[in-house]
């Protein structure tokens, strides 16, 4: 039993609301979709390019409002671009999005309207290159806090988020692309779900006692549901992904898994912050005494 001040938390719980894990999903979806869109562009897969670019644009279009609504002073959202600070993952992310969002939306707009195809291809290339960073920086954003369940998982969270983003992007593309053109989406979905589940397991093992929130309680239930959705979605995509109805079901399950993974990580941070033993225990071990 660790001593504490009347059992009170030492850390403050985050003030972020559900908009933030929802953004982790939409932003990750957009990032991985744009990478898939670029790959489709380079391999001449026009149907996959269209759906992937569309998913990227839709994801990023939803992301902006989610981020602005969560601010205590939404009117001051442009203050995010007042400075550029590599020590602040949120500052890095703001600049990333400032470059990524116009590229992703421009690429999709050009594709749909058929206007400025060259510029559209360049925009798709830009978004595709930035996409993997957009999908993974959010893991650094949560890890760069004092919350043990987030901070101590900083080696695994980026891979968890990368896998989750790939599963989501693969799922959307798989569900919305004709089967003949959707092969890469199916494979990306399966690889992504495998990485998502694998990284989550490695993270829990490395965290040891600090993994509690990921294994029990509300965050633990969300994690279990996420794993069930991701694995069943991947399985369905692999065995029956060529048929339309099952492809849609697989894509839905993969997206649900991806979304639940982010909510599980988000929730685990609150539970970890509320537990003074999670803060004190590891610190006592490393304190020279």
């Amino acid at each position: 039993m660790t001593d504490s001040y009347y059992g009170r938390p030492i850390l403050k719980a985050p003030v972020w609301k559900w908009y933030i894990p929802a953004y982790f999903f939409t932003g990750g979806l957009a990032g991985a979709s744009s990478a898939l869109g670029l790959a489709a562009q380079l391999t001449g897969n026009r149907r996959l390019r269209r759906t992937a670019l569309g998913a990227a644009a839709a994801g990023v279009a939803v992301s902006g409002p989610l981020l602005v609504i969560d601010l205590g002073r939404p009117g001051r959202f442009l203050n995010m671009l007042r400075v550029a600070k590599p020590t602040s993952p949120m500052s890095v992310g703001s600049w990333l999005l400032a470059a990524f969002a116009p590229a992703a939306i421009g690429a999709a707009a050009s594709d749909v309207t058929g206007r400025a195809p060259r510029l559209g291809r360049a925009a798709a290339a830009g978004a595709g290159v930035l996409g993997p960073a957009v999908a993974t920086y959010t893991a650094v954003l949560v890890a760069d806090t004092a919350i043990p369940a987030w901070h101590e998982a900083h080696q695994q969270l980026p891979f968890l988020f990368a896998g989750s983003s790939m599963a989501g992007a693969g799922g959307v593309a798989l569900a919305s692309t004709p089967a003949a053109a959707a092969g890469p989406a199916r494979r990306l979905a399966v690889i992504g779900a495998a990485l998502e589940v694998g990284a989550s397991r490695v993270m829990d093992r490395r965290l040891g006692e600090l993994a509690g929130p990921y294994e029990e309680g509300r965050a633990g239930r969300l994690a279990k549901a996420a794993e069930a959705c991701s694995l069943s979605g991947a399985l369905l995509a692999a065995v029956a992904g060529r048929r339309r109805p099952t492809a849609i079901a697989a894509g839905t399950l993969l997206c649900a898994g991806s979304l639940l993974t982010r909510f599980s990580v988000f929730r685990a941070g609150f539970e970890s912050a509320a537990d003074p033993a999670a803060t004190v225990g590891p610190q006592r071990l490393r304190r020279p005494r």
Partner: protein, 280 residues
Amino acid sequence: MARMGFFTDTSVCIGCKACEVACKEWNDVPDDGLDFLAMSYDNTGALGADTWRHVAFVERPRGGSAPPGSPPANGPGAGWSPAADLLPDAGGAGVRWLMSSDVCKHCTHAACLDVCPTGALFRTEFDTVVVQQDVCNGCGYCVPACPFGVIDKREADGRVWKCTLCYDRLKADLTPACAKACPTESIQFGPLEELRERASGRLGVLREAGVAEARLYGADEDDGVGGFGAFFLLLDEPEIYGLPPAPVVTTRDLPGMWRAAAGAALALAGAVAVAVLPRR
């Protein structure tokens, strides 16, 4: 400009809460709720957006035992000594009462300042850490970044608030309100170098008097946050007072985090490449 700070010597704190009141009055800090918390004489609870000084009251049972109704071990006529109250096992029953006025640590390596994406949090000419309220957009990143749980968002206002070490008073060459109001000089304000010397002298006196548990908290520049601008003399383990025993600024590990993210981003790009490779 010399680095200015606080030395809070909890061995002379009498729990009067004058610091809490003076801070609220001077800084116009709103009401933080009128709740009875059933935590000794502490109905304030913790530092937060509307609490920039917080007096903790810790009741620890003494080692010895005495029949109910017997006079206090260190009461009049019981061989009173100035240090005996501070000893964990002074004999006799009852509780050992620890009081401590907590405040923002104004860390040398401040996580709140590092992660602030707008530059609203900045380091002043006094080497203190202050929020520029006209810049803060309420993103809330500093809140979980602080290893002490000091800074928080004021819900009705949307921005984050914490101790400014009375930046306005410092500019006018005045002592911060809490230190000014403290009747026992438990809260001492001055150049940090001077305070550290004074604190190590005080620690020596207490150790000499037999208070073996006395220790400085946050006076070491080699700790995980590079030392505090507002440090403490404690009479027990920090966690007893609700303080983290060995806090580390989260951004110390940030290069490793960016490397992991770069690896994950490359893995994503690689997986996409593998997925589109032509099949046979």
